[in-house]
């Protein structure tokens, strides 16, 4: 199966901010694709890194695990990381696993 059928990733660099638009299904199958896009961006500690999840239809523990990894890596660099436009079904899983306050707390930091 073509990976791009499943997970859509578009990166936008603007005014010192880097936003990754994530759409489709982020699961065990598409996790490698997500990690490959994210790992160079994690290193850019002078830029705010944002994940826009508006078009994300499905996420599982593999996808949430990637968010945890990014969160920790950015925290270690003292670099801003924000998650925005979280759809309700995805938000429910974030709340359940307990990752929500970390994403919101990060968002609140300058």
């Amino acid at each position: 199966m073509n990976q791009s059928d499943k997970l859509f990733l578009r990166t936008e660099n603007k005014e010192g901010k880097c936003t990754v638009f994530v759409g489709g299904e982020l699961d065990l199958e598409s996790a490698a694709q997500m990690r490959a896009v994210m790992s160079p961006l994690i290193e850019l500690s002078d830029r705010e890194l944002t994940l826009n999840l508006r078009e994300l239809r499905y996420v599982d523990s593999t996808g949430i695990g990637i968010l945890v990894s990014v969160l920790k890596a950015r925290h270690a660099k003292n670099a801003p990381f924000v998650v925005e436009a979280v759809p309700p079904n995805i938000r429910k899983l974030f709340d359940m696993t307990g990752i929500t306050p970390f994403l919101l707390k990060q968002a609140g930091q300058a």
């Binding site: 199966m1 699961d27 065990l28 499905y58 599982d60 593999t62 920790k72 899983l93 359940m96 990752i99």
Partner: protein
């Protein structure tokens, strides 16, 4: 099989790219039975987590370069959807290495109340299964069998 049970069985290769096929089958069946959109979303994630574990752990430990352990038949996951009068049970079974269910259950924890440094990316799968389903049972005799059950609450029915 009890008289009031109806069973749909799906057998797929134990590979990540087939897990969405399991989700699609679950979706079709759950709609037919009358589960709500939210209940179906819950079950989709839970059944995928069980399949993830089968793909990642049950068959992931064959020693590389070994000539004797290569299986004659490619590993599969068997998913049985058992429709009962008041519930749907989903049995996810693999024939791989049995895993220590008790130890896994202990590791199954959320991220609530932790600091960023304490966060771990692993261990969320089983936690989510337990949080999303009414009942989760893990049997590990030959291979691993995870039984996920969601009760059917028909709207309009008196509790």
């Amino acid at each position: 099989m009890k008289a009031n049970e109806e069973i749909v069985t799906l057998k797929v290769p134990a590979a990540a790219e087939y897990i969405d096929l399991v989700r699609l089958t679950l979706y079709g069946l759950a709609v037919k039975i009358g589960f709500s959109y939210e209940e179906i979303e819950d079950m989709k994630v839970a059944v995928s987590e069980a399949c993830n574990n089968a793909v990642l752990y049950a068959y992931g430990d064959l020693p590389s370069g070994s000539t004797v352990s290569a299986p004659d038949v490619a590993p599969h996951i068997e998913v049985r959807f058992i429709k009962q009068t008041d519930a749907l049970s989903i049995v996810v079974k693999d024939d791989g290495r049995s895993f220590d269910a008790a130890a896994a259950a202990q590791r199954a924890e959320s991220l609530h109340g932790k600091t960023v440094d304490e966060l771990q990316a692993g261990g969320l799968g089983l936690y989510l299964m337990q949080a999303l389903m009414d009942q989760v049972q893990v049997n590990s005799d030959a291979g691993t069998e995870v039984v996920l059950t969601k009760r059917l609450l028909k709207s309009g029915e008196l509790a």
